[in-house]
C-alpha cells in the first residue's frame, strides 16, 4: 500500500459519497418514494452480504449472533438492543460450542 493507492481509493470513495448528495434538483415523486423506502431493504441485503462474505456457510458463532440479532430486530427498532442481542448470541455460541 502506498500514499498514491490511498489517495486514489479515497478519491473514488468520496466521489461516490458526493454523487448522491449533490444530485441537482428534487427527484420525481416515484423516485422519492423509492428513496424513502430504500434504507431498510438495503441494510437487510447488506447484512446477508456481510454474513455470507466468505462464499461458504458462516461460522457457528457468527450465525448465532445473526439469528439473535434478527430475533430482536423483528420486534424492536433499536440498534442498541440488536447489537446487544448479537453479542449475546455470539458469546453463547462461543461458550456452548
Amino acid at each position: 500500500m502506498t500514499w498514491g493507492v490511498v489517495g486514489v481509493v479515497a478519491a473514488v470513495t468520496v466521489a461516490s459519497r458526493m454523487a448522491g448528495l449533490l444530485l441537482p434538483g428534487e427527484p420525481p415523486a416515484p423516485v422519492g418514494v423509492v428513496l424513502d423506502r430504500l434504507p431498510a431493504p438495503l441494510f437487510g441485503a447488506l447484512a446477508v452480504t456481510a454474513l455470507l462474505a466468505d462464499g461458504g456457510p458462516p461460522d457457528v458463532a457468527v450465525l448465532a449472533a445473526f439469528v439473535a440479532a434478527l430475533a430482536v430486530g423483528a420486534v424492536r427498532r433499536s440498534l442498541l438492543w440488536v447489537l446487544l442481542a448479537g453479542l449475546a448470541g455470539f458469546g453463547a455460541a462461543i461458550w456452548l460450542v
Binding site: M1, V9, M18, L83, G86
Partner: protein, 228 residues
Amino acid sequence: MTPPQRHEDEPPTPADREAGPLIAAVPVAAAIFVFGTVYGAGASPLADPLLVVGSSALIYSGAAQFATVSLLATGAGLGAVVAAVATLNLRNVALGAVLRRRLDGGWPRRLLAGLVLLDETVGLAVAARHRPARVYAVAGVVCYVAWVSGTGVGVAVGAAAGTEALADALFPVLFVGLAAAAATSRAAQLRTVAAMAATALVAMTVPAATGVAAIAVALLAAVPGGRP
C-alpha cells in the same frame, strides 16, 4: 421538497431524545472501533504505521479499506482495487440520495456531510424521527474518531485475541440493527425480509455478484406500489 415519511405514532428511538444523537452513536462507534483495530492490525504488515492510520483518516470506509488491503495482499494492481472499491461504493450513491432528502441547506453543507457518509451514519439519521441532520452530524464525527483511533490502536498493539471473529459477527449484526431501525412499518419489514432472502439466494448461486445484487435487490424491493 417532498419530506421523507414520518411515523409520528411510533415510540421515540434513542436518537430522538435530547442527548439522543450521542447516545445512539456510541454503540455504533464501539463496533466501528473494533473494526478499526482489526483493520489496523491486518494492514500493518503491508504499510508503515503512519500510512495505515492515514488511510483510515482519508478514506474512512471499512469496506473499501478491507477490500484494498485484501487485494493488495494477493498482488492485485491498482485497476483491480479501483474496480472493487467502485463496486462496493455503489451503495454510497444510493445512501447519499436517501440522506439528501433529510438534510437542509445548500451544496456546501451537503459537501461537508458527504465526508462522513457511511452505512451507519445514514442508518442512524434515517432511524431518527426528529433532527436527522443533527443525528447524522454527531454520528459522523463520533464514528470517524472511533474508526481512526481504532486503527491506531490496531497498529500500535494489534487486535486482541478473538477480535477478528467478533468483528466478523458484528458486521452483519450491525446491518441487521440498521435495517430494524430503518423499517418503520410492517410493509417495510416485509420488504426487508424479501430483500434479505433474495440476496441470500444470489449469494449462494452467484457469489461474485452478491455486492451489486444487494443494491439491485434493495431497489426492487423499494419500488412504488402497495403500502409505504
